[in-house]
Point group: C2
């Protein structure tokens, strides 16, 4: 450990040497971040744009300018550092997503999210790996091994959570957001398992034992990562409640929450767990318990600070990706074969489209089988006769983007600390960049209008007009709770206080989990960890319901950012 | 520039290589930060302790534990990186200090602060340099050159602003805080000039031309640094007001303020200005204009976020200094001569005490000469007969601490990227560590009770009992405005609307500057840059006064953290 500390700090010494040139580049980078914010703000009214695309474009333009200034010679502008990305930029983004996520919406659809995130990603992984092997072997693009093909599958099967956050709006399309973003978080666990599996198992000969070990590995990783995040969140709630940290200083509460969240992420890294899952659940628990124990000022501060830091990290990533795209070293290697490069990119994009379609449509079908009420099934049967419902197509479409996570994984697999001279590897890197830029810009640009199109035309002009009635034409076959696809959470969703039997677990497991969780949460957890404060009234009585409804409403409003 | 970018990023690549060991050390460090917060909170009731001392002790203990685990062999635990300190940790601390400083208190005492920060630091520098040369040459501690002695003077003449922030409380002792902390900020400019002077001029033969150039250099640096900070602050106010950034997103405002503040710091670094002065004035302008243009949520968020980040950076620094103190490499070099090391540390501590006394007492006398009203002078003459007033002694005492800034400068002068094998240099480093630890712990521990002792005994028990009457026994000879030393700002201080003549500039320049600044600020600046909002009533009319008093009161309350 001591040697490790030494290594890290001798490295940090090397980095922090304040030569004039690095100060220049830091100035440039900070100024560009400011420009991204201001331009993103000015372009916000535009239907097509979002901040990530603005940052990508500004980053690329800066790359071109620096390339021209250096006369095309010195072109290594920014090296994409996967560790800068994974250690400093990703944690605030994912933590904030957990902190701000609508918990009810997320847990209601938990089963569907798990199905998409685990099984779906696996299907996509198999299709992309097989497709890549099939096509790329014919194209003669260098010496890619079987593990390279499997890595390609793992890299491109994962939906990028950061891109999803940029394009989808939680308040406008809560269900779509929770499904696609939740899937993005869960498939990080899948990716970690896949990467481990690629390195440990001989996946060319899959048998039932290996498949079982794989599944066990996944559940082990998922449960441990989640438990670590939940434990860190509960610890923060307990400490802040018991020691009354906010007594003297609001700032201490905020600092402690930040530190514990980051600690959970780093501990997950330490134990080779899925750190994204950990910090996501830490965010959920902190917003459910810790947030209700802190002072009012801390509530406002944490909510907006985490959002602002996440926002900064997001535009940092996109600016970074935009600048790195222009790295001429890799492009020089593939210059001799432009056709191959374009071909590989196109094939990858096609495989992503097919791979996602191959699990979204069947799994949506499967998800509907768990529904309990008969009329919903009939409703769904009506729809199976036509081309898949537009909302399912939207789920398919909204998860197509590949972003910085894909780039980081590709650099990990195909370069040695950011450099490569091998043709096959260079083609894979340039193709990844192409796929990321294309999917983020083109798919991203088209997602906003597509989502807008989903909203009923009569209310399209109003900004808050997102709650639609559960008419048959808008009935969503994906939902287990007969909720409309596009709805904000109203008090009506708390009228599910009917008796729950174990049969319910079979018929609608998500609903049963949610029900028992609420009971347990009210009875035990909130007494220990604070939470929203347990009301002294008898559970189930009218006053209890109304108090709870009111407090839930207040919380929803707060979560939505309303005054 | 492109080469610079390359260098920086190749370095960052090296740093961010996520080997397992560096993940372990990051976990350890984050966990220790959490422990510091919790322990600091628990020890808060203690009269003697503060967070910096807690962090120092925890850091040292961890160092000892790691030293024992490694069996005393591998002892290089943490390398003190002056660039990590100056580029990442210091900016949020100083910016927050500017952001939260009581502006009126600061500008009222501006002349005294300048006198202390510029002339005082120079006097202290001369005394410490001469004293070090005199004593160390006799002690035969290796080959220290004349520039080393001058560097020692520059290193130890500067009051550490970070330590001051930890020990003094702005709300309890606003005047003492503004004087000592303000001095700490201004003497950064002096330090930069001194360092440049040491490298450029032959200071062994000082003549009037060199002294004049030195003074010109100082004012050039001071004015340019201040102007840059003010410009960055005004730019943020203008952009946020004109573009109405908060329309859609509070987070964007917060992010933009952070980025512009950091940009001002980095620009000052780029142009070799005093970046501490720049970011301090940027903070002042942002709290005066920008803060009043943002949404209410952003107001709460920025106030507490900046404070929390500054708090984190502070405990990070002290933990870091505590861990670095145990670096056995340097101690091994000086092990052969323990007497010399102790001697050097004691002499340095003595020189710091004498050097500070040599300017605090005469300059306090000088500061009183600028007073206009006759009875104040008589009041002061009463007191000159006795041993200097206890409050002047407190000013002397509270500025004795040396902290991370001194360590960073010492490492810069006496090591090559954190390592040294030369005896003289090693002794200087270990002595610096000893001086920093001793002054922070001992002087720091004694400052709190000393300041408490200043408060009138009848009110010592009450936490808010800080406003004392201006009785003759509590009259402060330092003040130009006849204010009590320990007072919170009440509305009474706005009753200075009597006609102001140019004679006032001669008699009480601070007051005149304050007066004209208020006129200008109201008339021009607030129309362009927002500020607290210009009331449409006639200036000087009763309603104007009352509205302004009310808004100032509200602002003061907000600045004090009251609800």
């Amino acid at each position: 450990m001591v040697i490790g500390l030494t290594t890290m700090l001798e490295k940090s010494e090397a980095l922090f040497a304040s030569d004039h040139a690095s100060v220049v580049s830091m100035n440039l980078f900070v100024a560009l971040l400011c420009a991204c914010i201001v331009l993103g703000h000015l372009l916000e009214e535009t239907r097509w744009m979002n901040e990530s695309i603005t940052a990508l474009i500004i980053g690329s333009c800066t790359g071109i300018v620096i390339l021209l200034i250096s006369g095309g010679k010195s072109s290594r502008i920014l090296v994409f550092s996967e560790d800068l990305f994974f250690i400093y930029l990703l944690p605030p983004i994912i933590f904030n997503a957990g902190f701000q996520v609508k918990k009810k919406q997320f847990f209601r659809n938990f089963m569907t999210i798990m199905l998409f995130g685990a099984v779906g990603t696996l299907i996509s992984f198999v299709i992309i790996s097989l497709g890549a092997k099939h096509f790329f072997e014919k194209m003669n693009i260098g010496d890619l091994t079987i593990s390279d093909y499997l890595a390609i599958g793992a890299i491109f099967s994962a939906t990028d959570s950061v891109c999803t956050l940029q394009v989808l709006n939680q308040d406008e399309t809560p269900l779509l957001y929770s499904l696609v973003f939740g899937e993005g978080v869960v498939n990080d666990a899948t990716s970690v398992v896949l990467f481990n599996a690629i390195q440990r198992f001989d996946l060319t000969h899959i048998n039932s034992a290996i498949a079982l070990e794989f599944a066990g590995n996944f559940f082990y990783l998922f449960i441990l990562s989640t438990a670590l995040g939940v434990a860190a969140g509960l610890l923060s709630a307990f400490v802040i409640k018991k020691l009354y940290i906010g007594r003297h200083s609001t700032d201490r509460e905020v600092a402690l929450m930040m530190l514990l969240a980051y600690l959970s992420y780093m501990l997950a890294e330490l134990f080779h767990l899925s750190s994204i899952l950990t910090v996501f659940f830490c965010g959920i628990v902190m917003s459910h318990y810790t947030w209700h124990n802190v002072t009012d000022k801390s509530k406002v501060t944490t909510k907006h600070t985490f959002a602002a830091l996440s926002f900064l990290a997001e535009i940092f990533i996109f600016l970074y990706v935009g600048m790195d795209a222009l790295d001429i070293e890799k492009w020089n290697v593939v210059r001799s074969s432009p056709g191959q490069s374009i071909g590989v990119s196109s094939i990858l994009l096609g495989l992503i489209l097919v791979g996602r379609a191959a699990f979204v449509f069947p799994l949506s079908f499967l998800s509907n089988l768990t529904k309990s009420s008969l009329d919903e099934k009939i409703d769904w049967k009506k729809q199976v006769t036509i081309w898949p419902d537009i909302r399912i197509r939207t789920i398919w479409w909204a998860g197509l983007m590949r972003g910085a996570v894909s780039m980081a994984l590709a650099y990990n697999q195909f370069t040695t600390s950011g450099h490569t001279k091998v043709l096959g590897n260079a083609i894979m890197i340039t193709s990844t960049i192409t796929v990321v830029l294309f999917s983020t810009v083109v798919f991203g640009l088209l997602t906003k209008p597509l989502v807008k199109h989903l909203q009923p035309s009569s209310k399209r002009s109003s900004t808050t007009a997102l709650q639609i009635t559960t008419g048959s034409s808008f009935h969503d076959p994906l939902l287990t709770n007969n909720e409309p696809l596009l709805s904000t959470q109203g008090p009506s969703e708390y009228n599910i206080e009917q008796p729950v039997s174990f049969r319910m677990f079979w018929n609608s497991p998500s609903r049963a989990i949610h029900h028992y969780w609420r009971k347990f949460d009210n009875a035990v957890m909130r007494r220990i960890f604070g939470g929203r404060g347990v009301s002294p009234v008898v559970p189930g009585s009218p006053i209890d319901t109304s108090v709870r409804q009111w407090s839930e409403e207040v919380e929803n409003k707060e979560q939505n950012g309303e005054p």
